[in-house]
Symmetry: C2
Subunit: 341 residues, 2 copies
Amino acid sequence: MNSEEALSALCTPALVVDLDKVKRNAEKMIERCQNLGVQLRPHMKTHKTLECADILTGGSRRCIVVSTLAEACFYADHGFDDILYAYSLPFDKVERCAALAERLDLFQVLLDHPHALDQLIKRPLKDGRLWRTEGAELTGVYAHCGNTYNCRGVEQIQAVAQETTDLTLQFMEKLKAAGVTCKSSIGSTPSCSHPVKDMAQLSEVHPGNYGFYDVQQSVIGSCTLKDVAVRVLTRVIGHCPHRNQLLIDCGWSGLSLDGAGKLPTGYAVIEGHPNLKLLSMTQEHGRVEPISGLLDYGKYPLGSLLTLIPYHSCASVAMHPVYYVHSEGRLLGKWTPTRGC
Amino acid sequence: MNSEEALSALCTPALVVDLDKVKRNAEKMIERCQNLGVQLRPHMKTHKTLECADILTGGSRRCIVVSTLAEACFYADHGFDDILYAYSLPFDKVERCAALAERLDLFQVLLDHPHALDQLIKRPLKDGRLWRTEGAELTGVYAHCGNTYNCRGVEQIQAVAQETTDLTLQFMEKLKAAGVTCKSSIGSTPSCSHPVKDMAQLSEVHPGNYGFYDVQQSVIGSCTLKDVAVRVLTRVIGHCPHRNQLLIDCGWSGLSLDGAGKLPTGYAVIEGHPNLKLLSMTQEHGRVEPISGLLDYGKYPLGSLLTLIPYHSCASVAMHPVYYVHSEGRLLGKWTPTRGC
């Protein structure tokens, strides 16, 4: 890609990533975890790219979480190791998990049912490797404080972070009393963006969305809108004065339908245009209308660019086979995510 | 792929296509158009694959509609021609359109604004080719009776089909009176599934969803649920008796969020289980609950398969990088769609 090429020359809809913001978000999280003295195990499920994984792991390519085996294989194929598959062992994927456990130094799976343990034991590993479950040896305890997503503001986030930490540590104490010592890991981008001191007593944390953040995280209070590193660029392609609407070239194939009904501005925040609402989307079209008043079409000529800040970045970047990466509007290259299960 | 491999051995969530149903849906549409004496120009936007395009065009690889230039290039690269880009000419894509017009025998673009005509004229074609717009020569008129999607039943569909046909033919008469003779094309899967006689006076029709169909089309009345050729296979991965719910391994990365609130059974119809509702989805998890009563967990052991019929096939297949194709449950191979804009 010609580095002189401007962001505004991209065919739309285009998913663009602000590299400086990703780096800043990553550095802050790394620093936060260092200050706490807790191991950071970043989740890959939002971006699913090698480049962002390098940034989030500080270049170590070690100690990551994935949500699919497609991700696990993708990262394993590119020299990543110490991969935790954060999904209660699916019975159709035991063989693929075993293959990963045999080729990596460390591949961790989650169990949430005795039947899952039976499934593992039925598939012994080659070369003298062991699932670290026989004889009930537990590697660790993993929790996701998903209820932070109902929080509004730092105080509420930290209350949930505290509660999850307390419950996890109490559980660790019970395990210890029963003679089991193991690791502990909790996660969620909100709680790791505003950690409480007691999280220092955990072994690991595993946030994921924070590399990109999104409008949802800004509403929760994990970040400000300025920290959000991703945008969907779209163009005005139609004027519909009879409906007081604009048509844009971004439909649900460019921006997720996730977040319906959550924002006064519809499916996204339209940067620099707080009075515009992304009302609805079909496959390749979006309908935009003013929250109040009549549209001034002179401000939105055909072909002009609008910038959408996604409600949920995990869901919106999932619609794009490629992300365009820039620094201060100068295109640097493309990131290609992995897909599938 | 081993042809003996069973559908039930696929890792889930998996998008599966019933080849026999696709062929039957395609044959019926071809026959319907032949009987009417109207040219069928199938839309590729639902499936975006070569294999399905071959079936829908009866192997001719001619006379198709696409919704993106990614599709246009994909089909042009594989020997398809006479491609209509059914999108009002986007100003950022004039150069890409021109390149397609220069390499294909026939590449058609839509104009809905005088400014778009200016954009074309500013980019003359090479080798003596002409945009067939200079001197205001019009190739045709294109309409999409999207309001058929509000219909319920054949009578309502045909009323809209009749209205759209009448309006289009009246417009053609006006053009003729002004000395302009050109083609006419209307579309939508509902109206083309139940055409009215007067559609014979049009040049072309351009339905798209009918190769796969979906629950939405069955609700409209375009087809029956038995005609729907696509499914998402998913597995039970958790029992949550405290919530009277099951967890399945299909979230919004396997099934579109489109259709929220439209069906009593949630985001899909769960085949063979009319009392189950797909209540909500996160990235890789779905929550299923009974419409009434308590779940009998014995009927849904961990690892067992459930089959989702998507509300909107265009949106759900868009979440899958590959489709698994079968005949009567025997896996035949994979189809790989194109993506992007």
